[in-house]
Amino acid sequence: MPRAIKDSVIVITGASSGIGRATALTLAQQGATLLLAARREAALQEVAAECNRLGGQALAVSTNMTDEEAVKALARRAVDTFGRLDVWVNNAAVTLFARFEEAPSEVFRQVIETNVFGYVHGARAALPYFREQGSGILINVDSVVGMATQPYTSAYVMSKFAIRGMVGSLRMELHLDKASDIHVCMVMPATIDTPLFNQAANYTGRAVKAMNPVYPAQQVADAIAGLVENPQREVIVGQAGYLMVGQSMFAPELYERMMAQQVDNDHLQDKPAAETNGNLFEPMPEYTDISGGWEHTGEMPQGILNMAKEAVHKLGLPTP
């Protein structure tokens, strides 16, 4: 059933930066009641204050998504405070760059803990309330690499494939239970300009960068807001995502060779980088913005617009 964002009670995980932060502000602008979760308390408080200024109502609830009890407490907090839980956005994720066999086991495992079990905890915390209400929307921010693989990020790719499996099974169970107003949605962004890459664990010896084309986080935030009003199974964000998914389905061998090369050329730089665990075990105090400072190369309309503006300028025509 379509529902208004205004007065909806929405939990967003990973809300201290990136897509989570952009989504919080977008929903706050439309009058949502938000519970913002992440590990970084100070950054969350800042986002909550901004949401309140924008006309929403937001609570910051410092939560580690790998802690199942803490995640349950987060869902309970929503229900105990506002009487309702309308939407749960699973979004908190980390990443690791390393050759498959060179990634330390505990680091590899931590990606799965956060990205997979974090989402499992979120879904299992929200669903009992959804069932009580007979309604609810579970939005999972996955990735196009949940359908099309990439090298040097095996743990991350596996985690995003796993979420696809969880969502499919869960949706089928809800179908059997005739829970027709409980929706489970997937958002599959292509490369998004967020601090994900700045905070990545890295064992490749080469510096990480966002792979082109890069899209702004606002596009994902808008897609999530769209799903609240009109739940759909899957949404791909960024045109390159359609291309990746399409190629991997219709020409898998060619896709693997091309993508392998592209990641090697464009996801990793020729600059050396020290080994790091990034934000996997402890959150980093910096990188609390929506953006990770990557150039928005995926915004074709903007590029064409700029070209047009330049042409107008060079021709000496009046600019708007």
Partner: protein
């Protein structure tokens, strides 16, 4: 697969030669399950408390009485004033053997609870004031009428026939009398005496109880806290009972230690 609803049954008790009707939980509950009395609002009856009562019934000993003159209770010739309504509630509790209880009221029901607590403080454990009336900044008939008219379309539309039926049962003179009574009650002067843990619940779309007034009520209460339900209107007990029950349950569970402590004190004084 929604939340389990408990069964309710009608119970009739003679209080002061008048038959008083109440809807009570028919669920098998342990003796120490907390007692929750639902106190109805202006001219209506316990009928509109049913959705809330059903959701509380599996875990709490729920009682939703009709006051004399309202709903299915006897209609005396004279009309009870606020003090007498509180007294009737106390006598009814005596008759059915409830020592003390948590009280949840909607609208004018909150005024009855506050009056009750002032007179019989030892009989109330905790209070939930949902949409407490009447905002002292608009305590006149035209303003209140306007606010209730704005509120009406924001409620679940199935409430209207219930309301009309209860209004018809009460009759016009009693309607006028009750409204006058509600309007002449300076609730803000009594709130400081409601010395038990109290949860004030308001809906963001409630024109009758604006946020400012709800906050004023909480600030006047010695042990008050506020819960705001996004999107709900004035009659949350009917239109959004799940939301009301959830915040109430959280409040009751959080204030349970206070109760246990108090019970222990009672035991020691008995010894």
């Amino acid at each position: 697969m929604s939340l389990r609803k408990g069964k309710l049954q009608s119970q009739y008790t003679i209080v002061d030669h008048l038959l008083m009707h109440a809807r009570v939980s028919a669920e098998p509950l342990p003796q120490d399950a907390p007692v929750v009395i639902l106190v109805h609002g202006v001219v209506i009856s316990s009928r509109y408390m049913i959705p809330t009562a059903e959701l509380l019934a599996p875990d709490y000993r729920v009682y939703a009485p009709d006051f004399p003159g309202y709903g299915e209770s006897d209609k005396p010739d004279y009309m009870l004033n606020l003090v007498e309504l509180a007294e009737a509630l106390r006598k009814w509790m005596d008759a059915i053997g409830i020592e003390e209880a948590t009280m949840l009221g909607n609208s004018f029901g909150c005024q009855i609870i506050v009056e009750f607590a002032l007179r019989y403080p030892e009989r109330i454990q905790r209070a939930v004031l949902q949409g407490p009336t009447i905002d002292r900044h608009a305590r006149n008939f035209p303003a209140q009428l306007l606010r209730f008219l704005i509120n009406a379309p924001r409620e679940d539309s199935s409430q209207t026939p219930i309301q009309i039926y209860d209004y018809w049962l009460a009759g016009l003179p009693r309607i006028v009398h009750t409204i006058q009574m509600a309007l002449s009650d300076p609730i803000e002067e009594k709130l400081t005496y409601l010395n038990v843990p109290t949860l004030v619940v308001r809906g963001t779309k409630d024109p009758v109880v604006p946020q400012k007034w709800a906050e004023e009520v909480v600030n006047l209460l010695p042990k008050g806290q506020l819960a705001v339900i996004p999107g709900a209107a004035h009659t949350i007990n009917y239109s959004a009972p799940l939301e009301l029950v959830r915040v109430t349950r959280a409040f009751l569970e959080a204030t349970e230690p206070h109760l246990k402590h108090k019970e222990k004190m009672n035991e020691s004084t008995l010894d």
